[in-house]
C-alpha cells in the first residue's frame, strides 16, 4: 500500500487515540479506505496512559488490544505515525491534505529487541510518564505501543550516541539519515479525533503547581498508581515518603471563567476512581479527601459515586479550595478554604494533593482549516461544508466510553459523505 491509493473516496482520521482508532476501524470495517494519522510514534493516545478505567476498574490494555487486533487484520486501513496535518484545502468530498511525516530514524525492519536502548546512555524525560522519570533516548514508547518499533530521539541524531544505537542494531533498522517527508493526499472526508490535553495546572496560580512540592495533576497520579509508572505503582512523593493522606481538588481549571469555561465531565469520576488507588495501596490506613463544588457523576455512574461515599476512608468536603500553602517541617501542602456546609474556615494538611485538571482540546492554539467550526471552548463542532467532523474528546469533553460512541457517530457521517461523493462521480 502506498499514498497513491488515496482517492476522494478515502477517509482521513486525524489522531490515533481511542477515538481515532475507533473511527478508523468502523469506517474500514465498512469497506472504506482509511488513513489514520497519528502525531506521536505510537497509537493509543492518552487512553494507553491510564492505569484503570472507571467504572469497572479494568485496565486499558484490554480494550486497546482488541482494537489493535482489529486494526492489524484490516487491509483497508493504513496507519501513519509521527504524522501531522500541515494543511487542508478543498471542500466536502474533495479535500487535498498535506501531511508532514517526522523521521523516526528506525525502519520497519525493527524487531523491538531493545539492543539500541541498551547501547545508548543519553536519557530524555519519559513522555509516557509525563516526564516524571527518564528513559533512554532510543526507546519503545510503552508496552502497548503500536507499531512495536523503537524511536530514536532527534536530540541524539548526529551525535556519537546515535551512532552507538545504529551499531547495536542487529536488524540494521536504524537509519540516521531519515528526513522529514511531505505527503499530499486526496480524501473525501476528514475525522478530527485530535483528543485533549490536561489544562496547564501552573496557570492556576493559588494552587502552586510547580512551585509547591507534592502537588500533582490527576494524570501524574494515574502514572504513579500504575506498576509501569515512575514509582512502580507505589504512591511515593518526591521525597520518598509514602502518600497515605491524599487530597483531590475538583474543578482545577474547569468551570472557571478565568481558565476553562466548560465542565470537563470526567474529573469527578477520575477522582472517585483514584480513591480506589489509595485504598489499593494503603488499605484502611489510606485516607482520601475530595474537595468539590458538586460531584457530577453523570448517568449510571451514580452507583460508583455511592460506593465511594460508603467507603469510610473517603471524606467529601463541599468547598473549592482557595489556595495551597506549604508546611516546611512536614513537607505537606496545606489546603485553605471555607466549607460551604457550615461556612467554617479550614487549613488542612495532606501528604499529597491531586489536582483534577480539566480537559482542553489538543488543538487549542493550533491553526485549523478555515472550514472547521469550533465552540467557545475550542472543541470541534463540525465544518461549514459538512465534510469534516470532530470525534471523541476533540468534539466535547468525554470519557473513553462516550468517546467511542462519538467516534462511531463521526465515522458514520464520514461514510455518508463518501457515499454521496461516489454516487455523484458515478452519475
Amino acid at each position: 500500500m502506498s499514498a497513491s491509493i488515496a482517492t476522494s473516496q478515502t477517509i482521513l482520521v486525524v489522531g490515533g487515540g481511542i477515538s481515532g482508532m475507533t473511527a478508523a476501524l468502523e469506517a474500514a470495517e465498512c469497506g472504506k479506505q482509511v488513513i489514520l494519522a497519528e502525531k506521536l510514534p505510537t497509537l493509543g493516545g492518552r487512553t494507553a496512559l491510564l492505569y484503570r478505567y472507571f467504572p469497572k476498574m479494568c485496565h486499558p490494555t484490554c480494550g486497546l488490544e482488541i482494537n489493535l487486533k482489529r486494526l492489524k487484520g484490516n487491509p483497508k486501513l493504513r496507519v501513519m505515525t509521527m504524522t501531522e496535518v500541515a494543511a487542508v484545502s478543498g471542500s466536502r468530498g474533495d479535500y487535498t491534505v498535506t501531511l508532514k511525516v517526522k523521521p523516526r530514524y528506525v525502519t520497519e525492519a525493527c524487531t523491538a529487541c531493545g539492543d539500541c536502548g541498551n547501547a545508548v546512555s543519553a536519557e530524555i524525560p519519559n513522555p509516557a510518564n509525563y516526564g516524571l522519570d527518564r528513559i533512554k533516548a532510543a526507546y519503545l514508547p510503552h508496552g502497548m505501543a503500536y507499531p512495536q518499533r523503537y524511536v530514536i530521539d532527534p536530540t541524539i541524531v548526529g551525535t556519537p550516541e546515535g551512532e552507538k544505537a545504529k551499531a547495536a542494531c542487529k536488524a540494521g533498522a536504524v537509519d540516521l539519515a531519515m528526513q522529514e517527508e511531505t505527503v499530499e493526499l486526496k480524501v473525501g472526508s476528514v475525522v478530527w479525533a485530535t483528543g485533549w490535553r490536561p489544562y496547564d495546572a501552573a496557570k492556576i496560580q493559588p494552587y502552586g503547581y510547580g512551585r509547591i512540592p507534592n502537588v500533582v495533576t490527576s494524570l501524574e497520579f494515574e502514572r504513579m498508581a500504575d506498576p509501569h509508572g515512575p514509582t512502580s505503582g507505589r504512591l511515593l512523593r518526591a521525597d520518598g515518603k509514602e502518600a497515605k493522606n491524599v487530597a483531590f481538588i475538583q474543578c482545577a481549571g474547569s468551570r472557571d471563567e478565568n481558565h476553562l469555561r466548560h465542565c470537563s465531565r470526567i474529573c469527578c469520576m477520575a477522582s472517585l476512581k483514584q480513591t480506589h488507588y489509595v485504598r489499593e495501596a494503603c488499605g484502611e490506613e489510606g485516607k482520601s479527601t475530595i474537595y468539590y463544588i458538586d460531584i457530577r457523576a453523570i448517568d449510571r455512574f451514580e452507583d460508583f459515586y455511592q460506593s465511594v461515599q460508603n467507603d469510610p476512608t473517603v471524606t467529601f468536603v463541599k468547598s473549592k479550595v482557595a489556595r495551597i500553602a506549604f508546611n516546611e517541617q512536614t513537607g505537606n501542602p496545606v489546603l485553605h478554604g471555607v466549607d460551604t456546609e457550615g461556612y467554617k474556615r479550614y487549613a488542612t494538611e495532606h501528604d499529597l494533593v491531586v489536582l483534577a485538571v480539566g480537559m482542553e482540546p489538543e488543538v487549542t492554539g493550533v491553526k485549523l482549516p478555515e472550514d472547521i467550526v469550533l465552540d467557545s471552548s475550542n472543541f470541534i463542532e463540525g465544518s461549514k461544508s459538512g465534510g469534516m467532523f470532530g470525534a471523541g474528546s476533540a468534539a466535547s469533553p468525554l470519557d473513553v466510553n462516550r468517546s467511542v460512541q462519538s467516534a462511531t457517530a463521526a465515522s458514520l457521517k464520514a461514510i455518508q459523505v463518501i457515499h454521496k461523493t461516489a454516487s455523484t462521480e458515478a452519475a
Binding site: C251, N258, V338
Partner: protein, 207 residues
C-alpha cells in the same frame, strides 16, 4: 409616616433576591453564585466576617432580609479585589459588598456605630460642604466621634503626627476657619443634587 425600609418590604414582600437585583449595585449577579467558596477562602480579612460573601449570597436567595442588611460583614470589605480576580464565575463581589452596604445604609438599618459606616459618613458630609475634603476638620470629627473625652485622648495620641504634617506643610492649621473649596460653589451644589436625584431614581428611593 412610612420609612424607606417599610416601603421596600411592602414592595418586594417575600422576594429579597428581587429586591437586591433591582436596588443593589451589581445585585443582578447574586443568582450566578455557585457556592464554591473561593471568595470566602481568598479574603484576607475572612476571619473578621460573620458571614463570608458566598454565605451572604445564599442568605439573600433564602430571603434572610433582616440578617443580611443588619449584618456588618459587607462593611468589612477593604476592596482588595482578590475575590473578583478569583471568582470562577466573574461575579463583581467587591462591588456587590459595597452595594449591599450602601443599600442598608440608605434604608437606615445598617449597624449603628459600625466604624466603616461612620467614617464614610463623616468623610462624605465633610466633602460636600465645599467640594474639597478639609483634612483638619475631618480628622477632628473622626477623633471626637466617640465623645469629648475620647476625642481629647485621640488628639493627644496623634499629636506628633499632626505636628509633623504641619511642619511638612501637608496640613494647614488655618483650615479650621472653614478651609478651601471649589471655585463654583453653586455649580457644585447643583451637581451633587442632580447626582442624588439620578441615584434615588435608579435605586428606588425617588419620591
Amino acid at each position: 409616616m412610612t420609612t424607606a425600609n417599610q416601603t421596600a418590604i411592602a414592595k418586594y414582600k417575600n422576594s429579597f433576591l428581587k429586591e437586591v437585583e433591582a436596588n443593589v449595585e451589581e445585585g443582578h449577579w447574586v443568582r450566578m453564585c455557585m457556592q464554591c467558596g473561593v471568595c470566602a477562602g481568598s479574603c484576607p480579612l475572612g476571619n473578621a466576617w460573620a458571614h463570608p460573601p458566598q454565605e451572604l449570597f445564599m442568605m439573600i436567595r433564602a430571603g434572610k432580609r433582616e440578617e443580611v442588611l443588619a449584618s456588618d460583614s459587607m462593611w468589612m470589605c477593604t476592596s482588595c479585589y482578590n475575590c473578583i480576580v478569583r471568582c470562577p464565575r466573574k461575579l463583581p463581589i467587591t462591588h456587590i459588598m459595597h452595594g449591599l452596604a450602601n443599600y442598608a445604609h440608605r434604608l437606615g438599618i445598617a449597624p449603628k456605630g459600625q466604624p466603616t459606616r461612620e467614617t464614610a459618613t463623616l468623610f462624605w458630609n465633610n466633602l460636600i460642604k465645599k467640594g474639597r475634603v478639609n483634612e483638619l476638620t475631618f480628622s477632628l470629627a473622626l477623633y471626637f466621634k466617640d465623645g469629648f473625652v475620647q476625642g481629647i485622648k485621640n488628639a493627644l495620641n496623634m499629636q506628633a503626627v499632626g505636628l509633623g504634617l504641619v511642619k511638612a506643610r501637608r496640613l494647614n492649621p488655618m483650615e479650621i476657619l472653614g478651609g478651601h473649596g471649589v471655585k463654583d460653589q453653586a455649580g457644585f451644589k447643583a451637581m451633587i443634587e442632580k447626582a442624588r436625584q439620578i441615584e434615588d431614581r435608579k435605586k428606588g428611593f425617588a419620591k
